[in-house]
């Protein structure tokens, strides 16, 4: 007589300590082994794209903040880049430099959140607090120039809403000097911890061809060995003036494209962003940040697609203009949505604990998955 075994439907529901946001994952498990993962989305849908049809072009900028709320500067950047493409306007040098500096600082802050919460998912509670302590300094820097800690509304079409305050550049230099040893401390605590490596190496392997087929982008794609970064492959703004590397996953602790690689690529990217900020603050020219902001935004009939390298991947805006004050359509290509689509494939035949680790390493933000 054989024992009757069934597959269990386990619901990691919208409220869960480790689905980052309101994501519902329906797991079909056989004991502890996962057979199927079905993500259910839409719990954070706020009709962003519909709203844009009723707003004027410059009014949409605060709404873009709230897409990927952990990378607001990047979202702003993507949107204003697209509209500037549509209007064919050039922005002053100072604006470009400040945009790059804030975007890179935002990348550091976002990766710190990703690393910290990934640590919690795996059971290490302390790196989370270390990451957030360092992120506080970045948030204070941003609060000084924009007035907000979190959702900045900093960039405007053709320029910036605010200029830098006095002494901000020196504070950024102090931050870089303070932060580099902290990165080393984080590596000592978490990255090369044997238990952490056991939990994440060779778990959730994403092969490079599958990544490309599913449209994965950002650190997740680079961890699978594909050296593709929009800042190098399709440079926008002034990124081609800076000297930085694109970290790629090499399977140092396991296989190429496993969870440890995705985590390690993010840690390396923090270092690269520090390099970019260092170079940029040496070179900031003087100027008026609001000089090129048009009085009235009424683009000609046409379309434009602008894309930026957000901390989570390629954020794209496709804007269709019909000649009026409001856009006809703004479509967002969110990186987390495409990154999430691959989760069924990479979670198969792993344990339930691994699903949590893999989900943490995809680093999704439900704000942009659901918009």
């Amino acid at each position: 007589m054989s024992l009757k075994t069934e597959e269990l439907v386990l619901n990691m529901g919208p409220q869960h300590p480790s689905t980052h946001g309101v994501l519902r994952l329906e797991l079909l498990v056989d004991g502890e082994i996962v057979k199927n993962v079905i993500p259910h989305l839409g719990y954070l849908h706020r009709c962003f794209e519909k709203h844009t049809e009723a707003l004027q072009y410059f009014q949409i900028v605060p709404y873009t903040d709230r897409l990927d709320y952990l990378a607001s500067m990047g979202n702003n950047f993507g949107y204003v880049l697209t509209i500037e493409k549509l209007l064919k306007i050039e922005v002053p040098e100072r604006v470009e430099y400040i945009r790059v500096i804030t975007a890179e600082l935002q990348r550091i802050a976002s990766h710190l959140v990703a690393i910290g919460t990934f640590g919690i998912d795996v059971g290490a509670f302390t790196p989370f607090l270390f990451c957030f302590r360092d992120r506080e300094i970045i948030l204070n820097l941003f609060e000084e120039i924009t007035g907000a800690r979190f959702l900045y509304n900093f960039m405007a079409v053709g320029g910036l809403n605010y200029d830098l305050s006095n002494g901000w550049v020196d504070k950024v230099k102090d931050f870089i000097k303070y932060f580099r040893p902290k990165l080393k401390e984080l590596n000592d605590l978490l990255s090369f911890n044997k238990i952490f490596i056991e939990r994440t190496a060779s778990v959730g392997i994403l092969p490079a061809d599958m990544a490309i087929n599913y449209g994965v982008s950002g650190p997740m794609l680079r961890a699978s060995g594909v050296k593709y970064d929009i800042r190098k492959n399709d440079p926008y703004s002034i990124y081609n003036r800076f000297d930085f590397d694109i970290p790629v996953g090499q399977g140092l602790q396991g296989t190429v494209g496993d969870t440890w690689d995705r985590y390690w690529v993010r840690v390396l990217e923090i270092e690269e962003s520090l390099k970019i900020v260092e170079q940029a603050i040496e070179q900031i020219p003087e100027g008026d940040v609001k000089a090129a902001i048009p009085k009235k935004i009424k683009p000609p009939v046409g379309t434009a697609y602008g894309r930026v390298e957000n901390p989570r991947g390629e954020l794209g805006f496709f804007v269709v203009s019909d000649g009026g004050n409001n856009p006809f359509r703004v479509k967002v290509r969110p990186p987390s949505f495409c990154n999430l689509s691959v989760i069924n494939e990479i979670c198969k035949n792993n344990l339930v604990s691994d699903v949590v680790a893999i989900l943490g390493s995809t680093d999704i933000v439900l704000g942009e998955v659901d918009r």
Partner: protein, 351 residues
């Protein structure tokens, strides 16, 4: 007959009261310490508002838990649901009965001391499984299954290491073991035991191995990180205690801290001299006999709390192991090593 009953009750009170005088305040202290220590390790302060430096925080927590509504979902199995925290509580607290706090106080001086502790701690498994099953919740069931597998597996290296110490000590009685490790820090079992000679020095590396194995297994017994998969907050929310609230949750919670102290106490008695002081006794110096007993209590609590501190330290430093890695650690590494250790120690003790 009346006299007998009176005697039993008086003895019970005399034996049990000091125990509860320690354990309940310790549980409150441990909760406060955990929050403060974790705060300091994480570059923050911990509780600071309730009383100076947050000292009354535990009291506030207890009052909160006591006045909470006892939520019981409709579909739970009522009898088992109510029984589970009691079993866990009993299993953790009764283990203290045979642990000698000093030469003048032991709850019950039976010849099977360490055997009793291991056996009573096993009640905890029954309680956890019952709680997990009775909650009628898939997550709790996961937690319960994992915890049962974990605790039952890790009892084996625990028992084997205890056996190897018993071979050296010659007795299961915890008080005798502590008495044997007297006079000198180098008489402690981790340094080979009280008898001087070749045997003692050869034993030292194997006793060290035994200490490490016992410490790791005891972490798994009390469900502390890196073995806290049964209550892995980020995966299955609360595991076996997801559905509990109020006083029942307090039972689980306090029983965990009591268990932590119980295994710390056992490891100090087995390896680190029990209640013996590493230097001498002030009481002996000043010729005050009763002071020695009091000093021994201090040393015992100090060593026990030191190991509790190490357990807390590890919790906030290390990530957690996955359930299959946990099992591999136990069955493929700890058990063979401890078995070989036992055999070698047995041979050496024959010399």
């Amino acid at each position: 007959m009346n006299n007998l009953v009176q005697e039993i009750i008086v003895n019970l009170l005399l034996a049990a009261a000091p125990l509860f005088l320690w354990i309940l305040p310790y549980a409150l202290l441990a909760v406060y310490l955990e929050r403060k220590i974790s705060g300091f390790m994480q570059d923050r302060l911990g509780p600071m508002r309730v009383g100076k430096w947050g000292l009354l925080q535990s009291l506030a927590d207890i009052v909160k838990l006591l006045q909470k509504e006892d939520i019981m979902a409709d579909a739970v199995d009522k009898k088992l649901f109510n029984l589970a925290p009691l079993l866990v509580f009993i299993g953790s607290y009764a283990a203290f009965a045979t642990i000698p706090f000093s030469s003048i106080y032991i709850g019950s001086n039976i010849d099977l001391g360490v055997f009793f502790v291991t056996a009573i701690s096993a009640l905890v498994v029954a309680g956890l499984l019952l709680g997990a099953w009775a909650s009628n919740n898939k997550y709790s069931l996961y937690g319960g299954m994992r915890t049962a597998a974990q605790i039952v597996s890790y009892e084996i290296p625990t028992a084997i290491v205890i056996l190897s110490v018993v071979i050296i000590a010659g007795t299961f009685n915890l008080k005798e073991m502590s008495e044997q490790q007297t006079a000198n820090i180098f008489n402690w079992y981790i340094f080979g035991g009280p008898e001087l000679g070749l045997k003692k020095f050869i034993l030292i590396p194997f006793m060290l191995v035994g200490t490490v194995i016992y410490f790791i297994s005891s972490l798994a017994e009390v469900n502390r990180t890196p073995f806290d998969i049964p209550e892995a907050e980020s995966e299955i929310i609360g595991g076996y205690h997801t559905e509990y609230s109020g006083m029942k949750f307090a039972f689980f919670f306090l029983a965990e801290y009591a268990n932590m102290f119980a295994v710390s106490a056992i490891i100090t008695i087995l390896f680190f001299g029990g209640y013996q002081s590493p230097f001498g006794y002030l009481g002996n110096l000043l010729n005050i006999k009763w002071l020695v007993g009091v000093e021994q209590i201090f040393w015992f609590l100090f060593k026990g709390l030191l190991f509790v501190f190490v357990q807390m330290w590890l919790r906030w430093t290390l990530p957690r192991l996955r359930i299959d890695q946990l099992m591999v650690t136990c069955w493929k590494y700890l058990i063979p090593i401890s078995l070989v250790n036992l055999i070698i120690i047995a041979f050496i003790s024959l010399l």
